[in-house]
């Protein structure tokens, strides 16, 4: 008989199963306990009322450091735990459930990660152990525009003897207002480069942005800021590929946080549907609302799978990781916004009040959707990565 002609290829590598392992389950429980204790959601309103200019809770930052969770994915020899992105994703999801801000994305996933893979040993040892010890906050300044753009079209680095001069302005730098050191992406004739910049350097101006989600970021301008040669991270003009990898990874972490938020506001809303009585019955007994909740649940299940697949792809160094990161961010941006809106609607009037929680989720949704590329950006990028971009 005629057998199919394809030769017997070796079984492809077993994909990582899309479940949490035992350690991650323990981590999740511990993180939940921490957040319940240290980061109740009312803190957000309290901090704004108190005129807070930090945007997160210093005590929560300290506790994360004590538990060894700041640096959970950073190298062991730099004071980190050497974990996978999957471990960080567990933390992000739990933080997201309580909308708890912490300088984790900025210091570890963005600037820390970039240093960890492109920095020289001096740069690494100057900053990474300090991040893991909670002694330093780092920020990655990469956005020139109000829409995600990895090409830094407007910030320039001009070579001069012994160093560079930086000129331009960066938008919405996460934790840029409290950073002890900045990593700044700038463009020279040879391409994009990254530089370590002391935020107190002459020519650096930092403006605090108070965001609708109660967090704080910074717009930072660089007016003839002079840095030495040793401020250069990696090779000159060659940071693009590194940056792409760093941003994809951070995007997936942000997606995990957004998933946590979406799931949390869903769970709260479903609980409200069970409890709230109108027309002498729980409103959750109305079939129209049941179907909306059920469809919402389905969308959450899809989103969870996509985030877990993206996490696994990053950890497996799967070439599909970039496309999965974009797929996840496009999906989570839409889903979290819709979740916030649906939560307000199903809560009715009370959902519109500042004292209730749905509004906190919807404002966070808007910010998180815009950060690191919105749904339109990532659908476009997904198309491009798959060879049919416009």
């Amino acid at each position: 008989m005629t057998a199919v002609s394809s030769t017997v290829s070796a079984p492809s590598r077993r994909p990582r199963p899309l479940v949490l392992d035992d350690e991650q389950l323990l981590l999740r429980d511990a993180a939940r306990a921490l957040v319940a204790e240290c980061a109740p959601m009312a803190d957000l309103r309290d901090r704004r009322a108190a005129g807070d200019d930090v945007g997160f809770d210093r005590a929560l930052h300290r506790r994360l450091v004590e538990l060894g969770w700041l640096g959970i994915t950073l190298p062991v020899d730099q004071g980190g735990s050497g974990g996978r992105l999957a471990d960080a994703a567990v933390l992000f999801e739990v933080l997201g459930a309580n909308l708890a801000p912490a300088p984790l994305l900025s210091s570890e996933l963005l600037a820390g990660r970039l240093l960890a893979i492109a920095g020289d040993p001096t740069q690494q040892s100057a900053w990474l152990p300090a991040v893991c010890a909670g002694q330093a906050i780092l920020a990655l300044a990469f956005e020139d525009r109000h829409h995600h753009d990895r090409s830094s079209p407007f910030t320039t680095a001009t070579r001069q003897s012994g160093g560079y001069v930086l000129q331009g302005a960066k938008r919405e730098v996460i934790d840029g207002h409290v950073a002890d050191q900045l990593v700044v992406v700038a463009r020279s004739s040879s391409g994009c480069s990254a530089f370590l910049v002391n935020p107190t350097s002459p020519g650096v101006t930092i403006r605090r942005n108070h965001l609708i989600d109660h967090r704080i970021s910074a717009d930072i301008s660089f007016d003839g800021v002079v840095v030495d040669d040793d401020a250069l991270v990696g090779e000159e003009g060659a940071i693009d590929a590194v940056l792409d990898g760093v941003l994809d990874r951070a995007t997936v972490a942000l997606c995990a946080e957004m998933l946590g938020s979406a799931q949390a506001i869903f769970d709260r809303t479903v609980a409200y549907l069970r409890d709230r009585v109108q027309f002498d019955q729980p409103i959750g007994s109305f079939q129209a609302l049941q179907h909306r909740a059920a469809i919402w649940h389905c969308d959450l299940e899809l989103a969870r799978s996509l985030v877990m697949a993206a996490v696994a792809a990053v950890d497996d160094e799967d070439p599909e990781a970039a496309a999965l990161a974009s797929a996840a961010k496009a999906t989570l941006s839409d889903l979290l916004l819709r979740s916030g809106a649906e939560a307000i609607q199903l809560h009715g009037g009370i959902g519109m009040t500042y004292e209730a929680d749905p509004g906190l989720f919807v404002t966070r949704a808007r910010v998180a959707a815009a950060l690191l590329g919105d749904a339109t950006f990532h659908r476009r990028r997904f198309a491009t990565l798959n060879g049919y971009g416009p």
Partner: protein, 403 residues
């Protein structure tokens, strides 16, 4: 019956009137006198002399309550003429002055159900902007299920003693009177023990506090009644039969909420950046064509809005012609959705420029944009939730059976 030509001529007169009398300050969407002019009332103070004069002249025309009789200080206009007045006022950014809660929603009810004495007392004062009204319908535990309300009025001789709480009372803190729904018979089936009281808000025992919304401070209030004594002759309509008045009046509320919300958020009237201008502004090269995906999102939003406006137009035309018109619940449901989607897209197009709450990095326009987006979530809740509108459409328009 007014002929089309007569209406054209009327429109020309109205336009000329506004051109002559409207002060330039009217176009300032943050003018401090706007609130007082929109709502009137005992405590309203119009400080700008030009605005004060304009308001007085407008009151003298009767256009605050254009369809009311001249005896009631209205202008005695037909519905078509009144629509022209509103159009033309909107054209010169003065539409907000005619969005008066009292004349739009409370007045018609007093005319239909009030005693002669009540009509005399309230209608003219309303049409002249002397007394500001608000509504006291929803309660913290009874929003959509309005008929379940618990605020009690116990008869004590010639007064009712009112105790309870109301919420979502628009501008109660700056109003003089409230149209209040109370339960006068706690033992009757829930639709049968309700009465309507007209409560002077200066009566002792009333405390009013504004509600902070997700979009910031608001004109909505929570109002508490602690043994408030209301004269029995301040009851509107028969005792225990208030639900009938509510049904009668609810339609006014739904229509008015959409109209007002749109005026408020600048949906009509005030010039604002178009979606494509916003999108272009945020490009590296603002003169470059928009990406196809963005252009398509904008087109979809614009088409939806065009369809909604055509539906408003058709509703008016059909009503005028006595033909079947889109049901008010359709307008309410769709109006909220279209505005929400548009705000949402606008936010997306503004990117991170619109995620600010405060800070030097943000323009006034972008700060307003995020607040308008947040405020718009309420459009599908206030004045009857979208779910209630869909129930009404299913039952009354589609004749689908009760479950």
């Amino acid at each position: 019956m007014t002929t089309a030509a007569a209406l054209d001529s009327f429109r020309a007169d109205v336009r000329a009137w506004f051109a002559e009398h409207t002060p330039a300050a009217i176009a300032d969407s943050r003018h401090p006198d706007r609130g007082a002019m929109a709502w009137g009332g005992r405590r309203a103070r119009i400080e700008d002399p030009a605005m004060r004069t304009f308001y007085d002249e407008l009151v003298a025309t009767g256009w605050i309550a254009p369809t009311w009789s001249k005896d009631e200080s209205g202008a005695g206009l037909s519905a078509a003429e009144a629509a022209i007045v509103r159009d033309e006022a909107t054209r010169v950014s003065a539409g907000f002055v005619l969005q008066n809660f009292g004349t739009l929603m409370v007045g018609p009810l007093i005319r239909d159900f009030g005693t002669d004495e009540q009509r005399r007392r309230h209608l003219t004062a309303m049409a002249r902007g002397e007394i500001a009204w608000c509504l006291g319908f929803s309660e913290p535990d009874h929003g959509s299920d309005l008929a379940g309300l618990q605020c009690r009025a116990v008869r004590d001789g010639e007064v009712y003693v009112v105790t309870g709480a109301k919420v979502w009372n628009s501008r109660a803190h700056r109003s003089d009177f409230m149209e209040l729904l109370v339960r006068t018979d706690p033992d009757a089936p829930k639709h049968h023990g309700i009465s309507v009281l007209m409560v002077d808000l200066s009566t002792p025992g009333i405390s009013i506090s504004p509600i902070e919304l997700i979009s910031g401070g608001s004109d909505f209030c929570e109002t508490r009644f602690d043994e408030v004594r209301v004269p029995v002759d301040h009851r509107l309509g028969p005792e225990h039969d208030g639900w009938r008045l509510v049904q009668h009046g609810l339609r006014f509320e739904r229509e008015a909420v959409v109209t007002m919300a749109m005026a408020e958020t600048g949906f009509t009237g005030r010039k604002r950046a178009t979606l494509d201008e916003i999108a272009r502004h945020h490009q590296v090269d603002p003169s470059a064509p928009l990406p196809g995906d963005v252009a398509s999102q904008i087109a979809a939003a614009e088409i939806e809005q065009l369809a909604f406006r055509a539906t408003q137009r058709r509703a008016a035309d059909a009503a005028r012609a006595g033909q079947p018109a889109p049901h008010p619940s359709v307008l309410k449901y769709v109006g909220a959705k279209v505005t929400q989607r548009r705000r949402d897209l606008e936010m997306a197009l503004r990117g991170t420029s619109a995620i600010g709450w405060k800070g030097a990095a943000y323009t006034d326009e972008s700060l307003r944009s995020s607040r308008e987006w947040l405020r718009a979530f309420g459009l599908s809740i206030e004045g009857g939730t979208s779910e209630i509108q869909l129930n009404i459409i299913a039952r009354r328009v589609l004749d689908l059976p009760l479950g």
